[in-house]
Subunit: 322 residues, 2 copies
DNA sequence: TTGTAAGCGTTATCAC
DNA sequence: GTGATAACGCTTACAA
């Protein structure tokens, strides 16, 4: 009945008497609208999906917090999926092959993205925003970070504070992913600009941007001769692991080795020593990506845009900034 | 058409010729089944909701990771919502009042639960599992932790290692929540059993179980006379903050003050010093709660059960276990 | 202002 | 084995 729907939706002109009558019936029958039926009819689920590699990586959980908040403000809820490092899972999501895609749009934040993966999205009409990458080819909306500049800023800081043997942790074993490539490029550019040589043995790989990988990579770096006097890590988590490795090797941060990361997760602020880092504006990323995906949901034909989130150097104890 | 549905679902007896024909048509038209329509018909969304106070608290993000994994193994996806400290949001979820409840069951992991809140669930038929609480009254399924025993084990460890002035951080300003009450009880029981007095000024509150709250509470504790020689924190995050406060006060962990937490998040393993803690078996909690909610979805009338997840003491550097 | 009926895209029932 | 047809529970033209 038309009127019932109106009452439920709190909509237009309904007589007081009728409204009361309907309300009574609702109470009486303990009626609850079925959201699925409503969705089928309206075509909107009111849900967004946020896809990250690992939700327990602080950068992603902090991003998720901000995305959930930003989405709530405009009446959306967020479904979170983690792909692990499973490309098959990413593929299913991108192609829309999954049988439970009950959401209106997809915020895709791959730690690692092969561009082939994106080609798969083609057929699917699901609105898609890419987060964190900076490889804008005009096909998809991006909310990006200037990874090259971020890495360069980090390394420049190390150079400015007098470090001369600067190593890096985080290049990817497989050379096909955008973020690590860009951060590597920024690292090399900073060294080159300062007239310093890029030593291949100073550049180590890390498959998972985890504390454990940072620890292992740093241990290896500390064996080198000459020993690095600074380590630029592609993520804060790597840096946390690297700092622990320095201590376990009987050395000190920042006296013997300076350490800097990227992300600015809260953990780094409480670490000992506190971690210098490149702060990425996650609230900005969250807010803009939610705003953008809703625009796209409402107008699927709107042209792709790229939004670059700001970043800034945060100097703390781990680079000697006491 | 019956046959098409069969083909799509990979179901029963369909002739090869027909199957091929349908497949061709699917390709041709780039047909994609609509998950919402399917859901309306079958009554199953294939989604679970995990509700936590704050997804960026490592304990919850690690739990979320495990829940997503456990759910994926049985063909479910997970929607995550964070309630912040917003009781209104919790109420909407519990009463089923929200307009976007596109999931089959609810895993509710409140940091703080008022029992009144649960009464609200009554009318809703949504399958519900409570996580982390241990206040089993037979109305709802629980996957719980023995909070009293966990707290007691932590404090006993401090006593065993010779600490005599043991403070606590984490009791709740409002005295209505189960977890902090139980942990407080365990703390007091351990002291009393050891013939030690419970000093009210050694018991400090923390509203949010965050690093910041731990830091602030510890700073206050360190001003006391006599100064505590150990701090039992109701969560690892509080402990991380507390350790930092000890250092900033010019003191040392564990020499001057031992610190122990509860949760066993990865951050504690890499902290300096590494954090002693009570390890909660999150994979167990995740697995059992997913198993249980699916049971309940399939048989709404099945009687409520309580599952208690194991915990164990993990001794690391922060309590002098070098 | 209120009632009727169509239709969203599936799956399930039931003849053939 | 295969093809109509109803039904899931809602929203929304359209008619009254």
């Amino acid at each position: 009945m038309r009127t019932v729907s109106n009452v439920v939706s709190g909509y237009t002109h309904v007589s007081e008497r009728m409204r009361a009558k309907v309300q009574a019936a609702i109470e009486e029958l303990d009626y609850r609208p079925n959201p699925v039926a409503r969705t089928l009819r309206t075509g909107r689920t009111g849900m967004l999906a946020l896809v990250v590699p690992e939700i327990d990586v602080p950068y992603f959980s902090e991003l998720a917090r901000d995305v959930i908040e930003a989405a709530a403000e405009v009446g959306y809820r967020v479904m979170i999926d983690q792909t692990g490092h499973d490309h098959e899972r990413e593929r299913q999501l991108l192609t829309g092959e999954d049988r439970t895609m009950l959401f209106d749009g997809l915020l895709f934040s791959p730690l690692v993205t092969k561009s082939e993966l994106l080609d798969m999205h083609g057929a699917s009409r699901m609105p898609l925003i890419l987060l964190g990458e900076h490889d804008f080819d005009g096909r998809y909306d991006h909310v990006a970070i200037d990874n090259v500049a971020a890495a360069r800023d980090a390394v420049n800081h190390l150079i400015t504070t007098g470090r001369t043997r600067i190593a890096a942790i985080g290049s990817q074993p497989l050379e096909e992913y955008a973020t690590p490539l860009q951060r590597s490029a920024g690292y090399e550019a900073a060294l080159t600009d300062a007239g310093m040589a890029v030593r291949p043995d100073y550049v180590t790989t890390a498959a998972h941007y985890s504390r454990t990988d940072g620890y292992a990579a740093a241990r290896a770096l500390l064996e080198l001769d000459p020993r690095p006097d600074a380590i630029f890590c592609f993520s804060d988590l790597l840096a946390i692991g690297a700092m622990r490795a320095v201590f376990d090797a009987g050395l000190s941060v920042p006296e013997n080795v300076a350490v800097i990361g990227i992300d600015d997760v809260e953990e780094g602020r409480f670490a000992r020593p506190s971690l210098s880092t490149i702060s990425l504006d996650t609230p900005f990323i969250a807010r803009e990506s939610v705003r953008r995906i809703i625009e796209r949901i409402e107008d699927p034909e709107s042209p792709s845009t790229e939004i670059v989130a700001p970043h800034k150097l945060v100097v703390r104890e781990s680079t000697g900034g006491r």
